[in-house]
Subunit: 211 residues, 2 copies
Amino acid sequence: MTIKLYCMGESGNAYKAALALELGGLDWEPVFVDFFGGETRSEEFRKINVMGEVPVMVDGEETFTQSGVMQMYVTEMTGKFGGETPAEQREVMRWMLWDNHKLSSQAGMTRFLMNFLPEEKRPAEVIGFMQGRLKAAYKTLDAHLEGRDWIVGNAITNADIACCGYLFYPEPFGFDRKDWPNIDRWLSNIEATPGWKHPYDLMPGSPADRA
Amino acid sequence: MTIKLYCMGESGNAYKAALALELGGLDWEPVFVDFFGGETRSEEFRKINVMGEVPVMVDGEETFTQSGVMQMYVTEMTGKFGGETPAEQREVMRWMLWDNHKLSSQAGMTRFLMNFLPEEKRPAEVIGFMQGRLKAAYKTLDAHLEGRDWIVGNAITNADIACCGYLFYPEPFGFDRKDWPNIDRWLSNIEATPGWKHPYDLMPGSPADRA
């Protein structure tokens, strides 16, 4: 049965699940969620996901939320991206948790505030503060990637798929890969992975649709 | 060998690891980290953890960072707190990831800004914004706990241990458990768990030491 991923192109968290499904070679299809029309805030959507968030993944009778859970499910189904040894598995989980805590959570919010809120509603102090927090996160990731092609081990894992979630988007949020040579090289490695696609090519919905 | 947890009482993320170790019945001891004296920002500490964060856990030759990884390690060692079935295991992971993304990350930062920064440096707009985000998170958790004693299944799991990380602290950050009846009842269930301890009783270091 085809796995359905409820998502939209603008969501870096949805991208993590979509990219894992795609690179994992699973049979899946995106189902467009009208986030900007308020769909995730509806009562109906809350019944599917009390967290009121995309992505939501449905495989037959099972429904999943949280992109990290979906990534782990792809690993369960395919044996890919989870790390080779118990130590690597823990290291993958470490960077997925760090990403949820310090990178994607803050990047996603800052990008939203800077691009998807009406200009007069953008909170300048919050944006400046978050950009400072994000800079610390880029610094941590860039330092870790010194001398490494991948975050963990010698191949792409869920750690890479999580941490890159927001880093391919063109909308400004205070990140320029040219400022971070190790991150830049690592993103190129991800882009060179057979089957890789940009979020706006992998999922329906992009700012261009609303222009 | 005694597991060492590098931590301080003020860290709700360290508390998650300490509480899991304690309730799991493992042989562990806290090692005080002088966060407020700048220890986690030192070069020496970065060598142990590139993320520059507490907690850090050391078990013999192995070093762990990210509280979620430590919680999963306690589960590996004891069989406790991980959920009973594969579906419960995924549900536990879902709430741990949500906590990292939406609850503890934002609660920890807001509490820091409101209590541990000098008064003249506290960014009012950021604090107000984060309190709004946190209110949405409390609402989600409270709705999920309606009619439930625990976040997943019929006993305490890593989901509870993660989500309660910052919720027992007395310092103000815009959370009052009396405002959220289901959260309040659930926190009482955690407090009633044999072996439960408050963060300031489980780990060294508290604001009282610096008063």
